[in-house]
């Protein structure tokens, strides 16, 4: 009898808690779901706040998975282009190693990112942060695809491993810069009180990625028989040796 005077249930409404106009999701366009890898690529490039908003929702697992698939796919393609410099088996070896550089670095650095996020007061779940890191990597990987034709052209016109290595390094750093900008922007929206932890983590992240390229060498030059190198080197030491 009383049911007729009760207000309609609101539990089925999407969880929209963005009351601040600066928060992701305050624009209705940012609340539109992202379906499929192509939509995710478009969103990460054009509407990063939409990606952040979707990752903030409780059911963001699918989007994180799509972003990780983009990372895997794009890094395999870019790695393949890196491998064309040496040709032969190195095409798929470089593809696999490039993907490993990104994903293994993420796996190693995710726990420290979560701790730094919490220490800075950010209101974030581990799942959401995994998604944001996947978003950062997806942006890096998509940008690397953009650099791939340029890298391929240079690879056809030089025989210097050091020159090609330096070129890929520059492309990687530029892409990483944009990726980190995405992550920093996401941190701002997570109500982080300080940026010090994130800045320190960014230094760690870049160092780990650079070291990973050395730990998984050779990527640019032809394979020396084994998948992984037999000697351990710090990346700066390896670069100096390459330049000699």
């Amino acid at each position: 009898m009383n049911e007729s005077i009760l207000p309609p249930p609101v539990a089925s409404a999407p969880p929209v808690c963005a009351l601040n106009p600066n928060d992701p999701g305050s624009d209705p366009a940012e609340r539109a779901p992202i379906r499929g890898p192509l939509a995710a690529v478009a969103a990460i490039l054009r509407q990063p706040r939409r990606v952040m908003h979707q990752l903030h929702q409780p059911s963001s697992g699918n989007l994180a998975l799509v972003l990780l698939l983009i990372v895997a796919g794009c890094s395999l393609v870019y790695g393949g282009v890196v491998g064309t410099f040496s040709g032969g088996a190195q095409i798929w070896v470089a593809a696999l190693k490039t993907m490993l550089v990104l994903l293994a670095s993420a796996l190693i650095c995710l726990p420290s990112l979560y701790v730094f996020a919490c220490l800075s007061g950010a209101d974030v779940r581990l799942g959401e942060l995994t998604g944001l890191l996947a978003g950062e990597l997806a942006l890096v990987a998509v940008l690397l695809i953009g650099f791939a034709p340029v890298a391929w052209v240079f690879g056809r016109s030089t025989e210097s491993v050091a020159a090609m290595g330096a070129l890929h390094l520059v492309f990687g750093l530029v892409a990483t810069g944009f990726g980190l900008r995405f992550l920093a922007s996401a941190f701002r929206n997570l109500n982080a009180r300080s940026k010090g932890g994130l800045r320190l983590w960014m230094v760690i992240w870049v160092t780990v990625m650079l070291q990973m390229t050395t730990a998984l060498r050779p990527i640019v030059s032809p394979a020396a028989g084994t998948f992984l190198p037999e000697t351990k080197q710090f990346f700066l030491q390896h670069w100096i040796e390459c330049l000699k």
């Binding site: 726990p111 420290s112 701790v115 919490c118 007061g121 780990v208 070291q211 990973m212 050395t214 730990a215």
Partner: protein
């Protein structure tokens, strides 16, 4: 809302890192053995993972030894200084009961252990990239020193962050920044004194390349950390 987290709820860890004072104050106000056990287990896991990564450079057995030793140092320091720290708090202007001061210190070490645990994959990666023990002497010695320095740096970061959180907690509990600082420095002094000596007794952690692999050095209980430090300075300045 968060104050109602169960004693074994994993969400206590991010809440502690974020410094959610309302909830942390509630933990301190009401003693709960399961909650204290949860923090001890967190310390064992976090510091243990970091210890395993550090010791892994020398040998798997050293990894197991260091995984056991790091949490042991923390827990023995907490227990060994519990009485003294419990006395210092009211004397220096913070009216805490014995169990409350014990829990506050335990929470601070939990923060440090979680940070150490989060850095353990990075430490493992560094160790994996370092020249192994079988490499030539110069490379091996460089790797040993590099791991030593990195280990010290990570422990320093974890310690600084944990103590910053602790002084914030003490400020919340006392309502006075001066009292919080006094208590923190007294606790720090006591914990440093005992902790450094325990670390000295329980050495090695990485395992010097020139010495055999063992849980404790044969001379573990001979001399102390400060005596050795004093002798090192004396030798340095005596030429």
């Amino acid at each position: 809302m968060n104050a109602g987290l169960a004693p074994y709820d994993l969400r206590q860890v991010p809440a502690l890192l974020r410094g959610e004072w309302q909830m942390i104050n509630a933990w301190i106000a009401e003693w709960s053995l399961p909650r204290a056990v949860f923090h001890v287990v967190t310390i064992v896991i976090g510091a243990g993972l970091f210890g395993a990564a550090v010791g892994g450079w020398r040998a798997p057995l050293q990894a197991a030894y260091t995984a056991a030793k790091l949490p042991l140092i923390i827990l023995l320091t907490v227990l060994g200084n519990a009485l003294l720290n419990g006395m210092f708090a009211p004397l220096l202007g913070l009216n805490l009961r014995f169990r409350q001061s014990l829990l506050a210190i335990l929470l601070s070490f939990t923060t440090a252990a979680v940070i150490l645990g989060a850095f353990s994959p990075l430490m493992w990666f560094l160790v994996w990239n370092a020249p192994p023990l079988a490499a030539d002497e110069a490379a091996c010695s460089t790797a040993y020193r590099f791991i030593q320095i990195t280990q010290a740096a990570v422990i320093a970061v974890a310690g600084i962050v944990a103590n910053l959180r602790l002084v914030q907690l003490l400020r919340q509990l006392s309502g006075s920044a001066a009292a919080a600082r006094r208590v923190l420095f007294a606790w720090l002094a006591g914990n440093l004194l005992l902790g450094s000596q325990l670390a000295w007794i329980l050495r090695p952690f990485i395992g010097s390349p020139n010495l055999p692999l063992e849980f404790l050095r044969p001379n573990a209980f001979e001399g102390n950390f400060y005596e050795t430090l004093f002798r090192a300075f004396k030798q340095l300045f005596a030429g």
